[in-house]
């Protein structure tokens, strides 16, 4: 029993030593950008991140509190403006592209950030 626990503990320790905390590849082709996207809730977060993850975008993370999105993308494959457009298409205005009224109206009532839906 004791030796088993020790073995487990040791193997955990060894594994942690070898794991990089963050394995970002050093890649000059990749750019990071931050911009604002309007939204109010966890559902908005899902929708915004899903919208941003078009071809060429590697990662998209939106913060509900700050309403800022961080996108990591490959500028050879996608233009930053296309990411703005893709998000706005789903009804969420960004600081460069305003969402069309028709797209905005498709949002569930609890996500309609311009009509009194509060952060929740």
């Amino acid at each position: 029993m004791k030796s088993l626990l020790k073995t487990i503990y040791l193997s955990i320790f060894v594994i942690t030593l070898f794991l990089p905390a963050k394995a970002y590849p050093v890649n000059g082709d990749v750019k990071t950008a931050d911009f604002k996207v309007e939204g109010v809730c966890g559902m908005c977060k899902d929708r915004i991140e899903n919208g941003a993850l078009i071809k060429g975008v590697k990662k998209a993370e939106w913060n509900k509190e700050t309403e800022m999105i961080t996108v990591i993308y490959n500028p050879d494959k996608v233009e930053l403006m296309d990411i703005h457009k893709a998000i706005a298409e789903l009804g969420h205005s960004t600081d460069k592209v305003k969402a069309e009224k028709t797209a905005y109206n498709k949002l569930p009532a609890c996500c309609q950030y311009d009509d009194g839906a509060h952060k929740h």
Binding site: K2, I12, G42, M43, C110
Partner: protein
Amino acid sequence: MRLFWFLGAFVLSTLPLLAQQNDYVDGYIKGVDSEGVELPLLGANVYWLKTQTGTTADENGYFKLNRIDGKDYLIASFTGYDPDTIQVKGSGQLQIILSGGETLDDVEIVYRQKSTEIDYLDSRKVEVVSGKELLKAACCNLSESFETNPSVDVSFTDAVTGTRQIQMLGLAGPNIQITRENMPDIRGLSSVYGLTFIPGTWIESIHVIKGTGSVINGFESIAGQINVNLQKPEYMDRLLLNGYVNQGGRFEANANVRIDVSEDLKSAVLVHGSMNRIRHDRNEDGFMDMPLSKQGVLLNRWELRKDNGLHFEAGIKGTWIRKTGGQLDYDPDTDRGTTNFWGMDLGINRLEGWAKIGKVNTGKPWQSFGIQLSGAVHDQESYFGLTRYDASQNSLYGNVLYQSMISNTNHKILTGASIQYDDYQESLGEEQLDRQEIVPGAFFEYTYTHLDKFTAVAGLRIDHHNLFGTFVTPRLHIRYALSDQDVLRLSAGRGQRTANIISENSGYLSSSRQFIIEGEENNFPYGLKPEIAWNYGINFTHEFELGYRDGFFSFDFYRTNFENQIVIDLDRDPQQVVFYNLEEASYSNSFQGQVDYELVKRLDIRLAYRWFDVKTTYDGDLRLKPLLSRHRFFINLAYESRKYWKVDYTMNWQGKKRLPDTYNNPEPYQLSEYSPGFPVMNLQVSKTWLEKLNVYVGVENLLNYTQKDPILASEDPFGPYFDSSMAWGPIFGRNIYAGIRYSIK
């Protein structure tokens, strides 16, 4: 002991150096109470986002914290307030004002997160199975909600009743404490069937915790705790309609409706109906592969939340179940209690109600007070062949809790008292087995927190059982974050429960096995002692990001040692199931390793392996627990397109299982020593339109793997060798299903 020194040295060696020579940020943290008065928050935590570097505020709410390169976001948090994220710009003093107030029942909004998560900060390893995860396996109730969770094993109790039982750490379901929003729910007589009383669409999330839980929730958890959060009026959709049908002829319909009475007062009505009216016998053994069934469940709940910190919840739930199984032509009206045909029929009526009151002291939001009350009336009537089994249980539960802190929120205390009352009446054949259990108790729990780095929760409870006397339940949970990505957790504790041997083992009633209870001459339930076990666990979770995609892996090891157990002996005689107090050793060792990763963009993979070593002393011999596989492999692949197409694939491979000794039977009725290992694959495709309408189609058991001849002596069900309880694999085979869901947010 050496191990602890070893660990201690390791912990110290990895403590980070908090001092850095950079410039700093400083400021004040204040809270706003319900009258809008600002007050300094002594002991509030401030730290840099995604780091362990932080500090606490002094009595004026003042803090000073060194800057870290590349970190601009501060998190400020204090118990009773909503945490806030602040972007640090320039060099002025910060004024951070926290607002909001949470109550005791730690409301967690897990709606639409990653499908399974492990909370980085929790002192226990809590696997949160979210509503999103539940959609991966579209059917139908709590017992079927663990298809994509490698920590919980699901198997059939027998080949007649179609009852699924769950196991954790290789221990049967009743060893798991199943709670509904942290109040006792599925226990006693309902501990096996009760999983079907909770329809899938009613579940908001499930928390799965291995090892002993918190003392606040009682002394009963031995293998783990499963906490089910139902749809709450505050967060649920305004309307959800769901319909489901499968190849086996099962129909289900669900409706969830939210009613907003006023800004403060909200209500929800949840309705479920299902039926199965088609008799199937694919394996041609003369028995229905699945029983016919009708089921209705209705729930109404209310929630009142006032600005002055008062929170009130109440609910009522009614369950009605009828099941008929057995030989194909069995008709309960003409054949019950006769030898015309062997049949099983079962009726359960259950009514339960609960209430919760919580009050946060708005002036001192770390102080709160709560009361939980619940009651249930459970009534079961059933026939298994010629055996009649009737049982009823009336239960009452009360729990009073008070939470506060000592000097600052790094030292939290929670204390209270509880009472559990159960009145059982059971009759099996001619035998009448009644009992009453009354257990008052008191508990105390202390939580020490050091930033995000270290948490220790030490709990103790003392209970007095009217039959078993006074006993003490200590429990300890420790969490240490080795880094921002690595968490190590330890847990230890004691659990005790009264085994309801007949209802928990009612699968064996679908056989000619005679129930033999080798109790002692005392006033204990069935003349048997309580089950008492000690559980120790260690687990480790590492989160990583690779190629801009997140993942984590985790290992855990748990050991459960039984001081006493009610041994269920199927080996002594194939015509008997014998219950007796444990005489020597009984233990369970369990190991699990799991990796979750977004393999390529939008495609998630979960791989898991788990290993059990579960042994009990049967008549002096230490042997493997029967009908339990030692090895299990698990793969889940989940793909979601940008246009909300979803594909889910799950593969479960279970290793061989030991089968109970049958060498005393005549040759045709002897089983091999082990069952074969087998895989089960499930596949589901779904598409969502406008975030409102969802249609899904799937296949369970894609490979159509079934256990051949799951019923021993099926041609002679009233003879001595009939046994349908040796079920180790799927009975029905491939099953195609389809469903539709419509929701309004």
